[in-house]
Amino acid sequence: MKTFNRVFTVIVFLFLYIPMIVLAVASFNTGTDIAVWKGFTFAQYGALFKDGALLPLLLNSVIVAVISSLAATVLGTMAALGIRAMSPRMRSATMAVTNIPMTNPEIVTGVSLALLFAFVGQMLKINGIMGFATLLIAHITFNLPYVILSVMPKLGQMDPNLRDAALDLGCTPVQAFFKVIIHEILPGIISGAMMAFTMSLDDFVISYFVYGPNFVTLPVEIYNYTKKPLQPKIYALFTLLFLVILVMMVLMNLLQARDEARQRNARGVFGVRKGAKA
């Protein structure tokens, strides 16, 4: 059974990574047809960096991802702190609202925001309201729950008396946050921010409904491209992005490992003490 599970798992991982391999291989192909291997070349990478259109689109995606994930991190961390201080009833109501973007189909979120923006545009007589601002608002909105859901557990693990202890010793509430609380929940804030960033960078469905012609992100452009024949330099871009995200993930992992090791350490000491007594 165990061997079966292992072999099966390896096969599933192969299944998950086949498309990556196909795209990575295609990025070194001299031919333009992804299905036909013509020969090895780095030319697509060269073309990518000379391309005047793709990189600015990537830059657009990064700009939206950075700003929206930062904004969501600040807003979401504040919200998580506030939610913890709420009465149970208020808290569950707030969490229900938080879960709306998580459980709602993305297309509904995108459509509903598109209708809101169109409605506001009509009210204020703004032609072409869709653009950077609408994109940013949409991204912040779907990023917020990720931050909250990753900060809340860290707050829950924290001894609630730590905040009281800081206040008791003379901290104002703001000082208590920056001198004490943030040290306890930082891993949650960072992983929330990273999650928000990657979600935002790769978002297509919601962006597709709220972007404007003046500000296009990479996934939206890829969708529009795929209606035409695909340019092979996109494969090169994909391969590079894959590497970047791989590095980010490994970093996140190391951070997590350090955090867990720290917690284990603290527990270990008590374990020794109790053991010694018995």
């Binding site: 009465s87 149970p88 009833r89 001894d159 609630p160 008396n161 730590l162 009281d164 202890a165 800081a166 206040l167 008791d168 010793l169 003379g170 901290c171 104002t172 000082q175 001198k179 004490v180 040290h183 306890e184 350490n265 603290a266 000491v269 008590f270 003490r273 109790k274 007594k277 018995a278």
Partner: protein, 386 residues
């Protein structure tokens, strides 16, 4: 000594419509060691948090040195707290934990150093400055927590079940230590615990609380010797609580027999609760007994035997150094000062006899383990009792 420092006036606290404190009035004097004692959920921690400034009473006033401080946030109060499970800052070492409050006051580095060093001496932790607090034992963490609070020279130190997470022996040592520190520093200690032995051993004044109400305030001796109602009698120490009738001053009738006692001022023929402590009962030969009963169980406790005796179906607990046999008929004798007469209260009849003794005793001796973490969130680990 008896200068008033803190006064709670009609303090009521309700969370989501549920009353946790019901119109509490309490005066705390300067340099006093006062203990709030009661079972989980009785409102003792809430009272402490009101004094600390972490909760604002729903109604009523908190006075400090005569001034109303209801709206004063914790960081402006001359009060410091030792929290349950210590709440030490895990990212700071021992020295920085203790220096935390002083740094916020922006004191010169030299003064900080002097005061931290002084406190480390007071709590016997010299040489531990650079240790990580997560690498300390429970007792050492406890000392850091005390030093961190005291270094700010508060007028009042609040202690919220500070010894709850320590094992029995360490707890006894720390009780002595805390008493010594309190006398050395000459400040007021307000101490919260559910452990009656701890309360009796350390306090100048004990405040017994239950269901958001103060049941009795007094010295440890008063509380033990003259409980005001069945709750206090049952909560503090072991007691046999009997139904009785006060026939006249100094005469109480129970079990169909009149006994001499030292209490007066009741109405004639008033129904009362009669408390007899297990150690105030002497076992005598049947012919000399005021009452006679049958021994139903006997447990060796080291210093004494716990003997359960059946008197007409009502089971008494007697603590004695004699060891009668199970099934033996014995007589008992109680001196007049062995009776404590109490007016009937809502707690009358709630605390039955000792027929389910063994289970009840387990619960009591295991009192520091509290499976119900009431609304006060009193979570603590089971002490691995000896």
């Amino acid at each position: 000594m008896s200068k008033e420092l803190i006064r709670l006036v009609d303090c009521t606290m309700a969370f989501d419509g549920e009353t946790v404190l019901n119109s509490i009035n309490l005066t705390i004097n300067n340099k006093e060691f006062l203990t709030l004692l009661g079972p989980s959920g009785c409102g003792k921690t809430t009272t402490l948090r009101i004094i600390g400034g972490f909760l604002k009473p729903t109604s009523g006033d908190v006075l400090f040195d005569g001034a109303r401080i209801n709206d004063l946030p914790p960081y402006k109060r001359q009060v410091n707290t030792v929290f349950q499970k210590y709440a030490l800052f895990p990212h700071l070492d021992v020295y920085e934990n203790i220096a935390f409050g002083l740094r916020l006051q922006k004191l010169p580095e030299q003064e900080i150093d002097e005061r931290v060093t002084e406190m480390l001496e007071v709590v016997s932790l010299k040489g531990f400055e650079d240790r990580k607090v997560t690498a300390l034992s429970g007792g050492q963490q406890q000392r850091v927590a005390i030093a961190r609070a005291l270094v700010n020279r508060p007028k009042v130190l609040l202690l919220d079940e500070p010894l709850g997470a320590l094992d029995l022996r360490l707890r006894k040592d720390m009780q002595q230590e805390l008493k010594r520190i309190q006398q050395q520093m000459g400040i007021t200690f307000i101490y919260v615990t559910h452990d009656q032995e701890e309360a009796l051993a350390m306090s100048d004044t004990v405040v017994v609380m239950n269901e958001g109400l103060i049941q009795q305030i007094g010295t440890p001796e008063d509380i033990y010797n003259e409980p005001v109602n069945a709750f206090v009698a049952d909560f503090i120490g072991e007691s046999n609580i009997l139904d009785g009738i006060m026939r006249e001053d100094f005469v109480v009738e129970t079990f169909g027999r009149r006994f001499q006692c030292l209490d007066k001022g009741f109405q004639k023929d008033e129904p009362v609760d009669v408390v007899v402590r297990p150690e105030d009962i002497d076992i005598v030969p049947v012919k000399d007994g005021m009452l006679t009963g049958t021994v139903t169980s006997i447990t060796f406790k080291g210093m004494q035997y716990d003997v359960i005796v059946d008197f007409k179906g009502f089971k008494w607990l007697i603590q004695t150094t004699d060891s009668p046999k199970v099934g033996e008929r014995i007589g008992i004798k109680i001196d007049p000062d062995g009776f404590q007469i109490m007016h009937k209260s809502k707690y009358s009849g709630l605390y039955g006899d000792y027929s389910s003794f063994s289970e009840e005793y387990e619960e009591l001796s295991d009192a520091e383990y509290d499976p119900e973490n009431g609304e006060e969130g009193e979570t603590r680990e089971a002490s691995d009792g000896e």
